[in-house]
């Protein structure tokens, strides 16, 4: 009698322990830890399943949290693949040795700049950091470099995201490597003075504020502008691909990409998925759902956006976004960006 509570507790514990993994995954199915929006991934995955009969489970979360999880899980992980929309996270995973190298012929069609040097991850679609400018305001034709955003004349007229945003951090890394640390520091200081602590959580809100005339210019990913124009075709905004002058550094790109988990037992299946995503058809679809740029040079982007070759892209390898991330964060913190 005396030990009933203990017995009770122990049997309950046993009960919990015996709850089996809820989903048992078949041998011919894949699990992706996905840090990218479901709505951009699901249609492509559905097409893959339709063509191959291979089922795919999306375990969606924040890229960084999933990477942490992958790292701690080690050999125990369920994940066969890791999908992220930031090259920095992918490279970080490679540096930690979480991924396995893909067959070289598989990733050969993708430009070296958009994949890991050791082929442990490969980019799938690219987005450009661009300026959104109000076409009815005084700045309509005056901005052609990201560094113009530090101009004190833009006081209270500039929209940027908060400094924890992944795209923002990646952009700063590119500028730091392409234009130097000092110039980037001054630029950040200038923008900080212009925004007075008022920064945005979402790129969408920046585009909206520029369209309404409350702000004159903002720093965003290109597709947010087109998304706004879908809804409001007459909105007085335009896209500016910055730093195209003779000595300009070019536009900062970042890629979304995929990696195969080092501990997967289904490497062959996983490579099938990568092959599909890097195929001409897969590339077209993966990039088109969000109007991004396919990383394959032989696949054209959506006709609604300027072709990839029509403007200069900053010459920074995507792997640097991972390797230089801490240095970028240090710089952002040193300036005290909100």
């Amino acid at each position: 009698m005396k030990h009933i509570p203990a017995t009770l507790l122990l049997s309950l514990l046993a009960l919990v322990l015996s709850i089996p993994p809820l989903t048992s995954f078949a041998d011919d199915s894949l699990i992706i830890y996905s840090g990218r929006s479901d709505k951009f991934v699901k249609p492509v995955i559905a097409e893959f399943t339709r063509q191959t009969g291979i089922n795919v489970t999306l375990h969606t979360g924040k890229s960084t949290a999933l990477l942490n999880k992958l790292r701690i899980e080690g050999a125990r992980t369920d994940a066969d693949l890791f999908l992220s929309n930031d090259a920095g996270n992918l490279q970080r995973g490679s540096d930690w040795g979480l991924f396995r190298a893909m067959t070289p012929s598989l990733v050969a069609p993708i430009n070296k700049r958009y994949r890991a040097a050791d082929n442990t991850w490969v980019g799938l679609s690219a987005r450009a950091r661009v300026l959104v400018v109000n076409t009815q305001g005084p700045w309509a034709d005056k901005l052609d470099s990201v560094f113009d955003l530090a101009n004190p004349a833009l006081d209270s007229k500039l929209g940027i995201t908060n400094s924890t945003n992944g795209s923002y951090i990646a952009g700063v890394t590119v500028y730091m490597l392409a234009a130097g640390k000092d110039k980037t520091r001054q630029w950040l200081q200038g923008m900080k003075a212009n925004v007075h602590g008022k920064v945005f959580n979402k790129h969408r809100q920046i585009v909206k504020a520029v369209a309404s005339g409350k702000l004159q210019a903002g720093l965003v990913n290109h597709y947010y502008i087109y998304r706004h124009l879908d809804k409001y075709p007459d909105a007085p905004i335009k896209i500016v691909f910055p730093d195209q002058g003779k000595d300009g550094m070019g536009v900062a790109w970042n890629v979304a990409g995929i990696a195969i988990s080092k501990h997967t037992a289904k490497a062959a299946l996983a490579e099938k998925l990568v092959a599909f995503l890097t195929s001409t058809a897969g590339q077209k679809q993966f990039a088109e759902v969000n109007r991004e740029y396919p990383v394959r040079a032989d696949v054209a982007a959506s006709p609604m956006i300027p072709a990839a070759g029509s403007y200069r892209v900053a010459d920074v390898p995507m792997s640097a976004l991972g390797k230089q991330r801490d240095a970028t964060l240090d710089l952002i913190e040193e300036v005290g960006m909100p």
């Binding site: 509570p5 507790l9 709850i19 989903t23 489970t57 701690i72 080690g74 125990r76 994940a79 959580n201």
Partner: protein, 538 residues
Amino acid sequence: MASSFLSFTGPLRAGRRFTSLGGLATVVVLLAAMPLLYVIYNSLQLSTNEWLRLWSSRLPELLWNTLSLAVLVAIGCVLLGVSSAWWIARRDFPGRKLATWLMILPLTVPTYVFAHIYTTLLEEDGWLGRLWLGLFGETTPLPDLYNIWGVTLILSLAGFSYVFLLARAALSQPTRSLEEAARIQGASTLEVFWRVNLPLLRPAIAAGLAVVVLHVLSDFGAVSMLRFQTFTLSIYLQMSGRFDYQAAAGLSLILVMLSLTFLVLERFFRSRQRYYSARHSRQQPLRRATRLETSLIWLWLGLITLLAFGLPLAWMLSWSWQAWAENLINAEFWGYAGNSLMVAVIAATLAVIAAFPVAFYNARKRSVGSQTLLQFSSVGFVLPGPVIALGILSFLLAQLPFLYGGLAALLIALVIRFLPLAVQSQDAALAQLTPSVEQASRSLGAGPLETLWHVILPMIRGGMATAWVLVFIDTLKELPATLILRPTGFDTLPVRIWIEASEEMLELAAPAALMLVIGTLPVLWIMMKNHAVKMDSD
């Protein structure tokens, strides 16, 4: 006349039978403190220089932000909670029952949903934004929520119900004879409130505030959405931005010490006063409210309801309607709802069982040791969810790898996170039990377990129900630990809200939020029916 009485008790005689109970309590607390060990281990890796860097670069701001937020939210919750509780407990007015419900319904809305809804409503084309611009013209800037006042507003609206519940219970208790006695001595209304009601209310307010402040310290949803740098947000950013576990652990350790200090202080102030009330006190009819009072009461309660529940509910309904029209509420959606429900029911049950030895041991022993155990059981509540999750992940994989893969990791995390809620309400309920009841049972020849089963448990049923409901509600809303520890492909409603809201798919986030509200209604009803709240205050 004086049919209720106040009495003071010292610690009870401690017998041998407490040893196995104490052992059990110790096991539970050790399990609950497991993530803390992970935190301590990781922060030990920090060099002195890194500590100094953390200290000089972040700590002053984080301390100031976190503490001032806690104080402001506490004030906000007392203003909203005590004022509404006072009217509802002391006046009879039309719709009084409904009013009670309206004051606790905000508990069903998670803070991240609150923050999301209010930031959306206050955009230029949001409902409130348009109203504002219509009233004050285009030139008046919209109110900005991205500061301490915005976070205070959100967290007060989301948390005042805890203070309301406990204050209402305390105010409903028959202390009228004391008030009458004071009046006969010539005290004015204000004096009666100040010298009789407030001292009696103090334990309830303190208990309510303890829950509120712990929620503030551990809140992730509102502070991350509104970018207000508290310890929890900063810890999260260290882990996600830089993958710097050690700095995150160092900050967590300071947060834990801060919270434990607060809890010890709160206990100290509470334990100086302990009242037992006799059950056979005279129930007095409530004074009917005059018409003026009725309109004032409803004006005030209506305003609170509008902000804390009406607007969020209207927002959820309007977007859910859109989702319904677009056929987005499908089998997958019901699957998420089912997952949420299952996890919340199991976690709440386990937490209530695990909490009992800790609470009971303390109720009977009231020693420094038992108090210490009680405080340490709170560790889970104050550690940020992502830190607990990674701690459990590391621990399970290193020590109990066979447990990994199913629901076990998630359930353990949820029980650890919300154990203190169960411990606190059970402790409060047990504290109200007059020790003489147990002594009577024992002297009539009942064994300790018989006494427990036939006497004690039935008498604290209300407190147990409250404990279960509180854990259930918080589990249902839990996001950060669930995001990391859920089994592969296992999504709950909060996880879906988070995914859809970060994609700006409002019509998909809204039905999930609405479902959380609906799912909480039956358990709130159970709690109210049990008069559990009455038992909950000490």
